[in-house]
Symmetry: C2
Subunit: 296 residues, 2 copies
């Protein structure tokens, strides 16, 4: 078997176009409709700058007004909270995104919870998390990466009910909500994590129909580890040395693509898989919050 590639670039492009069209139509119907996101970056981490730039560019492409607020790395917690409160109260702002990670003097949980739940386009505030985890809750804003993965799974018409799903990693942003979203759709989910033994990892991977890996280890999953015909979604972003690249390195996922592609039925690559889905889901969430705030 040679796996079909799940093309996150293609899927995200088509969704981005839908979002762009919907915003254009809404602007015609409601001339005052002007969806706006504010992105807050604290300090100057180069990776954060790259992500922020990508997000702002995507926003501009679909007709979302994007503003970047950059604060010095030594901003105090009180000052951050004050800034967030002002943005929470600013009716012209429909989404607030605090680029993580934050410098150590800032309590990430406290800061993400300070974003008004209706403007929390990252879906990281406690009330949005709780809605994902409660069985019968109406979903509010779903974190972008797991939301993007569910979109890919639906796009590819991957069956979940009665299937064994394995999520590798249990972060609050990816692994945790991912497991719950798969479970809500009928999969029987096992979450592997740093305290799982090697034997456990091997056992559950080998019996999985759907694998979502978000552990951040290059080569974590090899073709020998997985079941024939399984579906693999690779969330890892790791860098390995590569002399052929100008930067001397190359981005890879958690999955050894070539060996897994011989065994799996579908597999998402890195780059070009989950990454572009995550970015487009920021837009999707912002469109949702803006529509709610405009009451349309």
């Amino acid at each position: 078997m040679v796996a079909e590639k799940i093309d996150g670039k293609l899927i995200s492009s088509s969704l981005r176009l839908n979002i762009q069209n919907e915003i254009s139509s809404l602007k015609i119907l409601h001339p005052d409709f002007n969806p706006k996101i504010v992105i807050i970056q604290v300090g100057d981490r180069p990776d954060s700058s790259t992500y922020v730039r990508m997000k702002l560019k995507s926003c501009a492409e679909v007709g979302i007004d994007g503003e970047l607020l950059k604060y010095p790395a030594d901003i105090s917690q009180d000052e951050m909270i004050n800034k967030l409160n002002a943005l929470n109260n600013d009716k012209s702002v429909h989404g607030i995104l605090v680029q993580l990670p934050l410098p150590s003097q800032l309590d990430e949980e406290l800061i993400t919870n300070a974003v008004n739940v209706e403007k929390d386009v990252d879906g990281f505030s406690e009330l949005n998390i709780a809605a994902v985890f409660k069985k019968n809750s109406k979903l509010k804003i779903v974190p972008c990466t797991p939301k993007g993965i569910m979109y890919m799974i639906d796009y590819e018409k991957i069956q979940l009910e009665g299937k064994n799903a394995v999520v590798c990693g249990r972060s609050d942003i990816v692994g945790g909500p991912m497991g719950k979203l798969l479970e809500k759709r009928g999969a029987t989910v096992t979450t592997l994590h740093s305290k799982s033994s090697l034997d456990q990892v091997k056992f559950f991977l080998k019996n999985a129909d759907v694998i979502v890996s978000a552990v951040g280890k290059a080569g974590f999953i090899h073709g020998d580890d997985v079941k024939s015909g399984c579906v693999i979604i690779d969330v890892g972003t790791n860098y390995v040395p590569d002399e052929t690249k100008k930067s001397g390195q190359r981005m890879v996922g958690d999955v050894d693509y070539d060996s897994c592609a011989q065994v799996a039925s579908k597999i998402s690559p890195v780059p070009g898989g989950v990454g572009p889905m995550t970015v487009v889901m920021v837009l999707h969430n912002l469109l949702q919050t803006a529509k709610e705030q405009y009451g349309i």
Copy 2:
């Protein structure tokens, strides 16, 4: 192998005694310390009346002031919310417990979320749920049944790290938080639910080191289904016909005790297992909220 019985009655009695002693000491140290719970019962369901009576009796035994507010089955949602707000603002009340289930005109989620998070001794409000589910959150108030089960597991010195745990059932009150609490302690957790196939149920049960069953089906787990030496915690409360009883029925769990006891290493019975632990955890949570509100 003949399994050792996990004696919930004994474990809960010893914890109840600790709570009683702590409250006595606190009342001596702080003469104004008067922990109080208000239990709200809507309508007249006989099972609810039994649970409420048990809780009030337990409160009295340890020195917690318990008050029962009974409302008619047709109370409106607005009226319920108003009553809850008054209790939220009443400084003499340290815990509020709304006995579930509620009549259908009341939105259970809305009502449980209306209880102030600091007085939510059931741990059902969204912010308490979110704290259980977020990886690094400081736990606030943990729902009584999963909290009681974790206490039993610790009391019995059951190892979780590197073990396969299977939770049967995914309710917001038991299965959901249970899986997360086991995972936080290092177990690799699979949750089985109504959409899991029979094959999946058999496969995961047979490979489980620790099983927590909360599906509400008598005879759901049989000795043939489980691995030698596993630990089984039975949360089920089911009634089966029994002519030798005056009531014509008898309470059993999800687990066929006799056959499982031949295979498992430890097993909690029904009655006398999880049930008494759940009740004592109401007291434990109330003591926690009262101490926080008194600032001691």
